[in-house]
């Protein structure tokens, strides 16, 4: 019968707006304002889940994020798994399924596990499944675990968002304490950010019937919310969980369904001057035999369903407690017309004000619930007197229990502020703050309204702890952690075996490691350990509270950045031209994407590369060299600075001239290579490799600002002020002529390693004579605003000479043919300039420069060096894979070197390569051996240059 447990009236639901939904294939009706849990209870659905390990039937236990038992999987658009039914707002067409049971929680095949329960105690898997080996069992175990299935698709529409926020005060929780604090701070003109996980403000007041100054407490809440809305300096979010408390008062808030068109969830990174933790308190469970049966519920949750959702989860209720709060629950139940059969109070004497609250209700003091009858629905409670041992069975269909209250200290603890155990509350409460934060209200241990809001009326709190019910001869499992099926006997076993640290207990039994992170049970585990070991809880301590407070979808954390914008990316004015002309684009350094090669239709990489290389060697080619890092240095001390920075001498350069150089780190490793030009007396231009531009900039600034603050050197990054088209090949000069320039291009007037300012094709340009290909080259630098135009004109002017665009693959071949160094290939942190036959770059004259002492020291050590050599595969048509190891005689043993590059040389019409080889310089002409998995390739060791050894061409 529809909503059989729905009360005739009351509750904060909209009875005019019925909502249809599906649960495990059956369809039900609830109301707007319901959660899935309240709607299921309204419909009298008792068994809503099966447990993780034993597959015991379970019902709904809580009413919020603490829910340990009923996890559901949502289908359709809002597909997501492992959601506590108590936190799923009901919406029309919602379709949910219980996790880890088949075919249904009511009849679950794996329920059979209950019979074997005794054979699978805590840690049983450590002791078995060893023979013959774990692989045999793993798949089955894996399948049994895992709860819900992972969503198969990302949301089909909408996106996630992450943003920054700044506040003087961040308040976590919009219950009475949080709202109060928000009003005070807001009125004081502070920038306030208040976030609450619930769909509605009010916190515990939503679930209770309290008054403030004689008015219903929820009226006070409504007024507070109203006033806050009117304040421009206050941001108030509901349905937004503060889930992480990071260093320097940075807190992360997850806002669900924000009022922003296509935004599914929003992540707020809030930087707060002060943090106010008003997260309330969580009721903890009582631990007794079969305390997991459907119909056994937290007392405050019974109260919440009756008051907030107008649902009577049962008709005949027994309450079991060790503290006062349950008496207010009893009063609310009676007021709602629910029969309270009895209150079992483990305390011998109950404070009078508590008894007064529950007049007319039978109270059995000094009495505990030892166990229950009923498998899938509760039938009776076994009441046992602690003193006399006298016992009775009390028939009922619902048991509400309260083991007392824990301040919700997760955020407090995440802030790395310590906790202390409060004997009066028998709970862990905030101690001294470690960051600019304070806890207030229930989170600080003020558990009743009268201590929070002036004029608030509430029943004073009092408790005598009862960590677990221990009645001799009582059978049945007493659960500490419902979600992971951890019972008292599991903890006892752990202790018996010596796993007696609370962290050991947690890990051995998996207690508190579920999705709820033991919000209702952890304290009882600690209590049980303390009882067993006979030490105070303070000494047992808590396990670490880790973010997130409640699970957060990764989408919300990631925000917008995804797919094409995962990493930054850069373009030059030619990037589009490259794409339009069929370039295969590569990820180059420093976030640039550069053309790898330009295949013609139907052409493979090798053919395309050969074509491009031939053009450069026999005609002319051009490439976009814009990404090279470029810096302008100014000041009197630039010369001495460059002399310290580079291993060779730069200070001797004349204006207009340039020089290639190496930069070393002070421990003698090669940082970068590049070219320095002297523009005039005090102005210099330094270029770096593309990938290291940022690193070199950082390096230079660090030296100048932290080591040599007095040196007059000012650095300006001009990488994007100068783009360049580098025209290279025997016909390069012809192309330059064809473009038209006012610069005298003759080798005499414009020699290698110099630059000239002028115009090229009518465009203001700085032309530089460097060469990374070994051919005659003109690097035509222009402002980016002119680059596209220049490029077009170069292609046009070059056409008669068969000019081709050259990609990075060809650049690689061309530099290997010349034996030019490539940081990514030949330099891997172990080689130095001498190994590369570049000893000339290591100045002897200069007494000191970065890396000098270290390189010397390393060489004095006498360790065998791996030196750069050229290699010629015995079979000229046999390519050697890059990175292939060289071993003595090709034996399977420690390597003596590796092949750093191997390319098809268009000038030699054979495969040639470079390698780093132990004592390679002394072994030219010898044979070495490449060791592959399935064979050996003999190679001849040669000088690392296969084209124009004297460098006539590049100077021509």
């Amino acid at each position: 019968m529809a909503q059989s447990n729905r009360r005739a009236s009351g509750g904060r639901i909209d009875r005019n707006r019925p909502v249809r939904f599906q649960f495990n294939g059956k369809s039900y009706e609830g109301y707007e304002g319901d959660t899935l849990a309240s709607a299921l209870l309204a419909n009298g659905v008792r068994v809503t889940a099966r447990s993780f390990k034993y597959h015991r039937p379970r019902g709904i236990v809580g009413h919020g994020p603490e829910e340990p038992a009923t996890l559901v999987e949502l289908d359709g658009e809002d597909a997501s798994g492992n959601r506590p039914a108590t936190t799923v707002p009901l919406r029309d067409g919602l379709s949910a399924r219980s996790v880890n049971c088949w075919p249904s929680p009511d009849f679950d095949v794996s329920g059979i596990n209950q019979l074997f329960a005794r054979f699978i105690p805590a840690g049983f898997y450590y002791k078995t499944f060893k023979w013959p080996n774990w692989h045999l069992f793993e798949p089955t175990i894996r399948k049994a675990a895992g709860l819900a299935a992972a969503p198969a698709q990302p949301p089909s529409s909408g996106h996630f968002e992450a943003r920054h926020a700044h506040a003087d005060v961040l308040i976590a929780g919009a219950g009475p304490a949080g709202l109060q604090a928000a009003l005070e701070a807001g009125r004081a003109g502070k920038r306030v950010f208040i976030a609450d996980e619930g769909t509605e403000a009010g916190g515990s007041l939503l679930n209770r019937n309290l008054t403030i100054n004689g008015q219903p407490a929820m009226d006070w809440v409504a007024d507070a919310v109203q006033e806050l809305r009117g304040m421009g300096n206050v941001t108030h979010l509901q349905n937004a969980t503060v889930w992480a408390y990071r260093e320097h008062n940075l807190l992360i808030v997850n806002e669900r369904e924000p009022e922003q068109g296509s935004v599914l969830e929003r992540s707020w990174r809030v930087r707060a001057g002060e943090v106010v933790i008003a997260t309330g308190a969580t009721e903890r469970a009582m631990v007794f035999a079969d305390n997991d049966r459907p119909g056994v519920m937290l007392a405050s949750s019974v109260q919440a369903y009756v008051n907030r959702w107008g649902v009577a989860p049962g008709q005949r209720v027994v309450l079991f407690t060790n503290n006062n709060s349950v008496y207010a629950v009893a009063a609310d139940l009676v007021a709602a017309g629910v029969t309270v059969e009895a209150i079992l109070d483990s305390r011998d004497t109950v404070p009078q004000e508590a008894l007064d609250t529950a007049q007319g209700i039978t109270v059995h003091t000094g009495t505990v619930a030892a166990g229950v009858k009923g498998h899938k629905r509760l039938r009776a409670v076994h009441a046992v007197s602690a003193k006399s041992g006298a016992d009775t069975w009390i028939d009922c269909d619902l048991l509400g229990h309260s083991g007392g209250w824990n301040p919700t200290v997760h955020l407090w603890s995440q802030s790395r502020s310590p906790l202390r155990f409060d004997e009066d509350l028998s709970a862990f409460v905030p101690d001294a703050a470690a960051q600019a934060c304070r806890a207030i209200g229930a989170a600080a241990g003020d558990l009743t309204l009268d201590r929070i809001v002036q004029g608030g009326l509430d029943l004073p709190y009092a408790i005598e702890p009862l960590w677990r019910v221990d009645v001799p001869g009582q059978r049945g499992k007493a659960f500490l952690d419902l979600q992971n099926d951890v019972s008292v006997s599991d903890v006892q076993l752990a202790l018996r075996e010596g796993y007696d640290n609370v962290e050991h207990v947690k890990r051995y039994t998996t207690g508190g490691m579920g999705i709820d992170q033991g919000k209702t049970g952890n304290i009882n585990i600690i209590g049980t350990v303390a009882m067993q070991k006979g030490v105070p809880l303070q000494d047992v301590g808590t396990t670490t509270f880790r973010s997130p407070y409640t699970p957060v979808s990764f989408g919300a954390i990631g925000g917008l950045r995804e797919e094409s914008v995962l990493f930054p990316y850069r373009h030059t004015p030619v990037t589009q031209w490259n794409k339009d002309n069929g370039a295969v684009m590569y990820e180059a350094g420093a976030r640039w994407r550069r053309p790898g090669y330009f295949p013609k239709p139907g052409e493979g990489l090798q053919e395309a590369v050969n074509r491009e290389c031939l053009a450069v060697r026999e005609g002319v080619g051009v490439y976009d060299g814009s990404p090279l890092g470029t810096f302008e240095l100014k000041g009197r001390d630039v010369p001495r600075f460059l002399d310290f920075l580079y291993s060779n001498v730069m200070s001797s350069l004349k204006p207009g001239d340039g020089r290639y150089g190496l930069m070393l780190s002070d421990d003698g490793l090669i940082l970068d290579d590049g070219v320095a030009f002297r523009l005039d007396e005090h102005r210099w231009m330094v270029s770096t490799s593309t990938g290291h531009a940022d690193a070199v900039n950082q390096h230079m600034e660090k030296l100048l600002q932290t080591e040599f603050p007095d040196w007059q050197v000012m650095i300006t990054t001009v990488t994007s002020q100068w783009n360049n088209a580098t025209i290279c090949g025997p016909r390069a000069r012809d192309v330059m002529q064809a473009l038209g320039t006012d610069i005298d291009l003759s080798p005499e007037a414009f020699p290698f390693m110099s630059f000239r300012d002028g115009t090229v094709a009518g465009i203001p340009a700085r032309v530089v004579r460097v060469s990374f290909t070994g051919e005659l080259s003109f690097e035509v630098n222009v402002a980016p605003r002119h680059m596209a135009e220049l490029w077009a004109k170069v292609m046009e002017a070059g056409a008669p000479f068969g000019i081709l665009p050259v990609g990075s693959e060809s650049s690689h071949v061309l530099r290997v043919e010349k034996g030019f160094l490539s940081l990514g290939h030949e330099v891997d942190g172990t080689v130095d300039a001498y190994d590369l036959s570049m000893g000339w770059v290591m100045s002897k004259k200069k007494p000191d420069y970065l890396g000098k002492r270290s390189v010397a020291l390393r060489r004095e050590g006498g360790s065998t060096r791996r030196e750069l050599v050229g290699i010629l595969p015995g079979d000229p048509n046999r390519q050697v894979p890059e990175g292939a190891p060289l071993t003595l005689g090709g034996r399977k043993e420690a390597t003596e070197g590796l092949v750093t590059a191997c390319v098809w040389s268009v000038v030699n019409e054979r495969w040639v390569g470079l390698a780093l080889l132990e004592n390679g310089h002394a072994r030219h002409g010898e044979t070495a051996h490449v060791r592959l998995k399935d064979g050996v390739i003999p190679i001849t060791i040669a000088k690392p240059v296969f084209h124009d050894p004297d460098g006539k061409l590049l100077r021509s």
Binding site: Y126, T128, F129, A145, P155, L493, F554, L566, E882, T895
Partner: protein, 454 residues
Amino acid sequence: MFVLLRWITQTLCERKSVCVRVNLFIDEFCSLINIVTTMQKYSLFSLARNALSGHRNWPLAWRSPPLKDQYEVVVIGAGGHGLATAYCLAKEFGITDVAVLDRGWLGGGNIARNTVTIRSNYMRDESIPFYVKSVSMYEGLTKELNFNMMHSKRTMVDVVQTWPKLRELRRRQLVMDIYGSTYEQITTDELRRRIPALTGGGPDARLPIICGMVHTDAGVNRHDAVAWGYARAADAMGVEIHQQTAVQSLIRGADGAIEGVETNQGTVRAKKVVVAVSGHTTTLTETAGLKLPLRTMNLTAFVSEPVQPLVDVIVNCPDSGFYFSQSDKGEMVIGGAPDMGQSFRRDIKQNVFEDTVTSMLSLFPSFKKLKLMRQWGGHLDIAHDASPIMDQTEVPGLFVTAGWWGGYKAIPAGGLTLAHLVAKDEPHPLMSSFTLDRFRHLDFVMEAGTTTAR
């Protein structure tokens, strides 16, 4: 009897050649007896038997004996490396007068908070054989220690998104081939077939997937079980494990050699002291006036909610900077890059964390609705050249094992080689390149560009 046998061998051993073999055999034999006699065997049958007695008769996994004032060897740190070292000292070298001291609970260091990735895909001759050994030892550990480590040799698959990375991995593969470690390239189609959830990284993505690399030797296991298994086996052979015993300083004698340690439980003397406290190495060694080229950093990881089996390999994405595997409980265990700067704060950096998540979502978009369940961090100390240090320090009798990041995979071989060093006062061949000596002439061991998977 144990003692007797040792005595016989001592006297027997005039003729060295035999001696070694005999000695080894005897050690084998004795330790075997040791385990069998003092450690209750775990098996399906013992489980069943105990079930019938309500599991009331399980013995302690390890004892808590009173702390003596002297031991032959003191090992500081009851983490993976410390416990494995103690175990190997007893098992391989018959040194059982060993105390393992920990300021907290055993297995509470990095072994309690890591991503259990076990692999041997390294690049240098110095590294590969060591990790190959460690991986193979892990595979036999469940049986050796009679404790189910749930070792799952499920292979690691690299998702390659840049050519330079592919070049580096290929180079690694070619050297690994020499040492019999497995690494093979697969096509993007094959990659997606093996990891169906890998739906990102298409042609239009920021970093399109180029191919995959498969490392079949890689696996995962249960980290707590490793600590507990070693502790239980070491204890059974006479090693004492003392928890809540914080070493406050190292004691040096007049001759400069180590003499013992000062703890919150009093002074403990020993001629050999092993420091195996990742992250806090320098904190301790400084008390002996020792300077080491180490810096402590924070490496963080996080897990998703448990879900049904979805990914059955270790997925490593070096270009995107994250890696993960799915635990037997169903959680995705995810790791990323370390934080910048020195840190003893076990906490995650929001920006580092968000970068890792973003990278993951770009390759696994369906994880957007998957939920973060727990996150944590661990300390590790990184040497100047980012390679481990295992050596006897300039303080005679003081040994360190440090500079491990991703030291989890190194535990079995690390324990073996360190025990060898302590027992024989000379480095084990597998670790001879990782002594402090290398810094004297800056001969760094640069394991350049190892994967993000630590």
